[in-house]
Assembly symmetry: C3
Homo-oligomer: 307 residues x 3
């Protein structure tokens, strides 16, 4: 098994490493069905969260416990530097790495995980660093969900819908999809929320086919994956009418999904606000709650790979 | 052993189920004396608290650890829905049930636990839902304390003292006591804090003898159990004098207990404010700290019954 | 092995007990190298913190997990008494001691740990009680660090630098050092931040040699240990210039350490603000991050001694 040292950004993950990760995640599912393992019962994971993200924290902590390990945990890591003047992230990491075998770090600053990895004596896993930063385990679990639900990734048509401009999830996933053969990416958003040029440039450089659209209806019946993202009211400022129109245009309800391919899937990173109607939940194509379960498997796999 | 699916409200507990629960709790005490068990070491409990209640949370988490299990925990579950617009309880439960084998839910809204049970793929245990809602494990541990201290429940004379109007503990316990034979209930409170009519109607319908009183002294020497509840200053608004008179009238001190039966017991759900004098603590009839221990046993028993 | 009942204050620790503690800590290092032990897997530690101190909490929780034990934890223990009027510390301790085998208590009031020990049915370990109170495990880990790095304590020359007036760490450590033979203590601070008279009196009574200085340069080349403490801006009020001069005078950089003995060590309780230059970190004489690791060993040792 390849030894990962740290999990900092999506860019680290080559195709062979991705395949190995997915195979490990598949094994984790079997381990989970047998009730977990106690193999890691002398290992301690530290959840070092500088801002609360209970969803992500629970996912990692459950993963560690299913592996038999232990967890020390804070969602108030900023208090390490509560003294006037503050403690540097580097000092905190040097201290915490004495107490554990792996650190899961959530931070508010872009690049924090990389900085932590430079001084840590134990592996760092980036659980999100800043709005414009990375959240590689989310991108990996999204990719794994597509692979697991559809069986392959090469050649798939994948639509991203909603606020694509700021979503680090979409950005990282688009990056990873670019490594596969013949994928076709549809970015569906109003102009001012479209995917940024850096990702477009990256895809162009790597000969990945993509298109920018504003209407979902045009492509709904063609694509294999619809990846829906949260549309936050605050992003629209005083344009209340545009906000409401956007929500309405991209709303996924039973009528929308009636136009989808039978084998297509609907994904969402959660929490959802009002992008998807609850009466879609029972449709087999709605995989967003299964995404959560896949997140557990991917995090178990990553923990075994770094430990 | 009967398989409980969820623990939502006191009303679920029939007499046979109560007896089975108490027998299981008795076994748990033996297990505890032997240092706990590792039988549940591949099980994870999620403490999902929408408001802090460290006392209740510690009791459940200690119970799970004594069974060998693991715990993921938050007292800030409201942050699951911190995004503008919020995530529904239902979505949160669907997500969290992927990470664990049982959810202990504390919520601020009446009926939350029932709603959670409709969508959860794992058992839900209600650890309190709203001021006017249910807190069934507290009622069960109170009932178990009476049973354990006195050996039986049928025919007992039980006084409730203090603020009976809002106390969900008293309401649920009165409900459960109504299932036993020939119990006699004394509700001792000032008029405006008396037990509500819905409970009175329930007791009348089930032919349970009860009386409403305002003076504790009248019945102090007759009863087998005095269940004291917290009298909160804020409930009296600007009636400071009535507040002080009430506290004084119902205050339990050495003089009060000198009038009690030798075998009677004094209970309190804790925390106490100034209802009971600390110099009563050492009296063998003061069982309120043993109640806490019994809570641990009942929660261990409930966990084994749902898992 | 001597049975400790509670760990409340530095004063409890006689020379024989200190030696036994250090031997136990040495054994803990070996256990840690083997990946910890599961000997205490049926024991529960409660972290009962009335104010957050994640550094100390993580250290204790990691120690308990390395011993195989379990942990229930709160950094909001004040919420036990959130009800208007409050619950006494004594009542909270009586409740919590039903849920665990040892309580690690952090409190904001001087003397809280001692009060807790009077009513607890399980051992209490003081993890800091008030600014002017005790933090005995910190003092013990500091002492252990000197012993471990230098091999002995008798006859050492030890300088304390910075804000010595309020630092409970320095006060407790000076107290413990007073038990050893022929130590020489140098207290380096501006007048208004000098060590208080009570400690000076104690040292005089016990015939411990000490001197008060304001300049670090005078003694830098003589001493075996430089114990640097945090200099907080707020302690200087409106004397911004004195603050800056103090920081500058006591700043430890590569030039400072070039004057130190080759075998001397630099300690700091952490977090540091701007007392030590980061480019000193890689010098083998900078032991402040190893102090953290020693803290883990001392806490493992104390846990085994009380359990």
């Amino acid at each position: 098994m390849a030894k990962l040292q740290h999990v900092i950004e999506a860019q680290q993950f080559t195709l062979p490493l991705i395949h190995e990760l997915f195979q490990t995640a598949d094994q984790m599912e079997k381990i989970l069905e047998r009730g977990g393992t106690l193999d890691y019962q002398n290992k301690i994971m530290a959840s070092l969260f500088y801002a609360p993200s209970t969803r992500t924290r629970f996912s990692f902590e459950s993963a560690m416990y299913r592996l038999g390990g232990k967890v020390i945990s804070t969602e108030q890591a900023h208090l390490f530097s509560s003294v006037i003047g503050g403690e540097t992230l580097e000092d905190t990491i040097r201290v915490v790495s004495n107490f554990c075998d792996v650190i899961v770090l959530r931070h508010t600053e872009v690049g924090a995980a990389k900085r932590a990895s430079f001084v840590s004596s134990v592996p760092i896993i980036n659980a999100g660093d800043g709005k414009g930063g990375q959240h590689p385990t989310q991108a990996l679990l999204d990719l794994y969900t597509i692979y697991k639900e559809l069986g392959y990734i090469d050649g798939l048509k994948i639509a991203f819908v909603g606020d694509l401009e700021q979503g680090r999830t979409v950005r990282s996933l688009a990056y990873l999809l670019g490594k596969f053969e013949r994928v076709m990416l549809y970015f569906i958003a109003p102009d001012f929320l479209q995917i940024r040029e850096d990702i477009q440039d990256y895809l162009t450089r790597h000969n990945v086919w993509f298109t920018l659209e504003s209407e979902l209806n045009k492509i709904i019946s063609e694509v294999d994956v619809i990846y829906v993202t949260r549309i936050e009211r605050e992003r629209f400022g005083d344009k209340a009418d545009i906000y409401e129109e956007t929500v309405k245009n991209y709303f996924i309800d039973r009528e929308t999904i009636s136009k989808m391919k039978e084998k297509a899937i609907i994904m969402h990173p959660l929490p959802r606000l009002n992008e998807i109607s609850p009466d879609v939940d029972s449709d087999p194509r709605a995989v967003y709650f299964r995404q959560t379960k896949n997140g557990l498997l991917i995090r178990m796999a990553l923990l075994t790979m770094v430990l």
